[in-house]
Point group: C2
Amino acid sequence: MFETVAIIGLGLIGASMAKTIRARTGCRVLGTDRDEAVVQKALLCHAIDAKATNEALAGTDLVFLCLYPAAALTFAQEHGDALKGAVVCDVSGIKRWICERMSAVASANGFTFVGVHPMAGKERSGFDASDSALFQGASFLMVPCDAPVSVQRNLADFASLLGFGRTVVTTPEEHDRMIAFTSQLPHVLACAYVQSPCCPKHNGFSAGSYRDVSRVARINETLWTELFLENREPLCQELDLLIENISAIRDAAKSGDAETLRTLLRKSREIKEKLGE
Amino acid sequence: MFETVAIIGLGLIGASMAKTIRARTGCRVLGTDRDEAVVQKALLCHAIDAKATNEALAGTDLVFLCLYPAAALTFAQEHGDALKGAVVCDVSGIKRWICERMSAVASANGFTFVGVHPMAGKERSGFDASDSALFQGASFLMVPCDAPVSVQRNLADFASLLGFGRTVVTTPEEHDRMIAFTSQLPHVLACAYVQSPCCPKHNGFSAGSYRDVSRVARINETLWTELFLENREPLCQELDLLIENISAIRDAAKSGDAETLRTLLRKSREIKEKLGE
């Protein structure tokens, strides 16, 4: 299906992809990173077979751009020649912004672009946090853009080979709206939550609820500032709604309105129960 | 230290206490519940040694009231005679409201009241969700009220015997302020979060962040309505602050202010890092 796969950017997602592909397929894996020390580490621990030099890149079938969105676009623009004929996927967490721009670069340079989003992560980043088990059972979101069905099918099969639980084909718009809710909102929440003056004193007074809500507050502020800004409309819509919903609960509590409070909480319980969660 | 312990209310916390005490101490464990079928089940699976009838209650050294706060107060008022001489603990999640009222009942009836709060829970409730491992390593919060030091020491030793990680002695005011942040806020958040129209469609687009934030939205609305109302001042203070902090992030995103956004997120990351989390 694919013989040589190149991973550009060996952070948490890129290096986890490299390790997973090496562990579960017969593909030759090339990799590179702006930090040469990371490339050496990846070579030493067999996360990659060889460095993805510009020459090596020219012979690859499949390229995963595991960079921040703007950097992925710049890479594709600067290496358009070497990417010719390849299937190129970015793995970033936003899709309208990148698909629109990448589609243009792809047709200008003769490569096939598919936006993908492996729905897995960790509150730690970087090569050292990478793990060949990170994607097991996770969703593989795929935004086909103009890619032929045969390429989409190959990518879905490849994702299955890597241990993803399922491939979900979506549009840039649906992707960004859903991700604003499932991923970006929890990150905003976690960051806002830990800013309470109670937070530094939580030890001894906390358990699972604190841990779960605050987990992703250990955020990579450079990456997430970019992701939030590139997805600001759906994100701000969700945030407006969330503030409204929190305010309704607060107002009921403040005024001692047990009936309204109970109704609001019951509504939430029923949503979770209906989902079987 | 204690020979006979009675558990009033065999829901998640009460039955988990009963099972833990049976598993880890030589105490005789009595138990009761407003639902007679639950008492029978508890007897059958040896979660309790015998039913805590009114007569049996009179001979116990230690009583845990594992009921909603108002129900715990009513029980103590109605069974004051039988509780005479015992150490009586309520385990509910609020302490100013209950300590003030229970202290009066305690001195009127000659028992010793200590407010405690085992910092462990689950998103499921009831006897069937109970587990003798629930409290392992958890904090045991203790609000001594007027209890002598010897009683406090005995309770702390007992908690240690049960596998709690540590006992934290606190005041009703500190307890309620911290719990508003560590426990009540995440519950409000989870409930507000799942009310987004995106929630029922999250499947395939979600991973750990969604799961963690939404987990406790499967809420017991009767219990939590009571807890929220009995702790409304600290809770509403925390909610006001949270809404303010979320709004600051939203405003920065909405206006495309990368610098402010990055500064806000960095602040959160640094708080988590300083805590070593």
